[in-house]
Symmetry: C2
Subunit: 88 residues, 2 copies
DNA sequence: TTGATAGGCAAGTAGCGGCTTGCGTATGAT
DNA sequence: ATCATACGCAAGCCGCTACTTGCCTATCAA
């Protein structure tokens, strides 16, 4: 659960989650260009790739390969643990 | 909002929130002894104090002085922003 | 007033995290 | 077969963060 919060503690990663909420199944390159164009995040492809790995190990996104593309899908499941722990 | 997630990214701070959920209005020393006894967190009083400051600036706890005691109360308000952003 | 309790301030240190750089691999188009 | 595209791996750098240490202030009891 600590991994979950650390994953959410970076604004680039939360922005990625926002973009995946709007449109699921995006590739690494699509996310890179979107983050740069719409959010002014000029990080390298490798940097974004590392962010995606953090999100994946935290269970916040799921990844599948399709040819030479890497598609990313959001998974809001872990977020519900927050509600169960302190809210309600 | 980034401050909120960074505050939640530390296990000592989430444990503090757990303890305040169980019993509100605890002092700094009470939290120190509880964290040590029930969670094996052997950090210094100053360390815990710094954690409480982080939680306060994130809006997750509220602090009031009473004599020479510093009482802490949990505030789950900011947590609801998480639900509004990605859940529902 | 003296001493003990509860907490504050500030500087220093060690380790982690985000990012870049350089190179390598795999898939697909021509 | 060749070249471009999409992505992976690994090392290094730099700033931030959690933590300690040392000293100081404030409240209360004896």
């Amino acid at each position: 659960m600590e991994e979950l919060f650390k994953a959410l503690a970076d604004p680039t990663r939360t922005t990625i989650l926002d973009e995946l909420t709007e449109r699921n199944g995006q590739t690494l390159f699509e996310l890179c260009t979107l983050l740069s164009a719409r959010h002014g995040i000029g990080s390298t492809r490798q940097a974004i790739s590392q962010h995606l790995q953090v999100l994946e190990t935290a269970g916040l996104i799921e990844v599948r390969r399709e040819g030479r593309y890497k598609l990313h899908t959001i998974n809001t499941g872990p977020l519900k643990l927050i509600v169960e722990r302190w809210l309600q």
